[in-house]
């Protein structure tokens, strides 16, 4: 399995706005609506950033 080091490195290499949504949703356990309020962006933007963050992580961890 990927070590936390691998995951952390991949996480840190995400674009800042993608990392920010994962911080809100995964680590702070916020919903899309809550994250949107916290980040000051539309909910659809949050969803899109989550999607692209997860795709980026998958690609990075599959390298």
């Amino acid at each position: 399995m990927r070590t936390p080091t691998d995951v952390l490195l991949a996480f840190e290499r995400l674009q800042p706005e993608l990392r920010a949504v994962l911080v809100e949703v995964h680590f702070r356990k916020r919903t899309v609506a809550e994250a949107a309020r916290s980040l000051g962006v539309p909910t659809e933007t949050v969803k899109a950033r989550i999607y692209h963050a997860m795709r980026a992580l998958r690609l990075a961890l599959d390298e």
Partner: protein
């Protein structure tokens, strides 16, 4: 929602960040849309990796750096998180990237192949046949605890040998914070239950998932899946 909106929502769905009504919409869509199911399966692979990172202490408990704006998303804005993550990393042995790749890539690919749709919201879907004839039959099990409302859905797929099964399951409506694990029981009744998934903690929104459970019971001999709490009590079971 449009097709594109559904696809974009899959990540948030997997992270349990959608409102219940919206999550149900996505679940229902996944039953019908092969493209989105493919996307779902691919993104599911990220979950075990994210699970290796700490969720507690919550970074929100750590103060934001002065001057940070809520939407900064800057590395500085993640200082608290990074501090917590680095602490975990410091406790790990040095990375052996090439080694884990050799060791885990086959497992990872097997998991990807085994992961199937968790969207058996439609009752009566006891057996699903994959549209692709090259894929083995998948059995879907569902069940609800009438008292607590906890609901368990699972998919069972033959492993590479045919002697065992790969299992993916999802609990919803469970008690937040409680630890539980997944187990499977065979139809014969002579064998005890087999643990099919690691112990997990139910999320604040009452959800728990097992993406890569395995048991040495063939798919056609699995009678039911059960979610068991730390005291050994069956919280909910799911049958075809």
């Amino acid at each position: 929602m449009t097709e594109e909106e559904f696809r974009i929502s899959i990540g948030a769905y997997l992270l349990d960040a959608l409102e219940p009504a919206e999550a149900l919409q996505v679940q229902t869509h996944l039953v019908d849309c092969a493209e989105c199911r493919k996307e779902y399966l691919e993104l599911t692979e990220v979950l075990p990796a994210l699970a290796t990172l700490p969720r507690d202490p919550a970074p929100e408990e750590l103060p934001r750096p002065e001057g940070e704006t809520p939407d900064s998303g800057t590395p500085e804005g993640d200082l608290g998180l990074r501090r917590a993550l680095r602490q975990v990393v410091a406790e790990q042995p040095p990375p052996r990237r090439r080694r884990w790749r050799r060791r885990w890539r086959p497992v990872w690919l097997a998991v990807a192949a085994a992961v199937v749709v968790l969207t058996a919201v439609a009752t009566g879907m006891s057996v699903l046949s994959e549209k692709s004839s090259s894929l083995p039959t998948v059995r879907t099990v569902t069940g609800t605890n009438a008292v607590t409302g906890a609901r368990l859905t699972g998919t069972l797929r033959p492993d590479g040998t045919g002697a065992g099964s790969r299992i993916q399951a999802e609990l919803t409506g469970g008690p937040p914070g409680m630890h539980c694990h997944l187990q499977a029981r065979a139809t014969s009744g002579s064998d005890g239950p087999q643990r099919a998934g690691e112990q997990v903690q139910i999320t604040d929104r009452g959800r728990a998932t097992w993406a890569n459970g395995t048991v040495s019971i063939p798919v056609d001999r699995i009678d039911r899946l059960e979610v068991v709490d730390g005291s050994g009590h069956v919280m909910v079971q799911a049958q075809p």
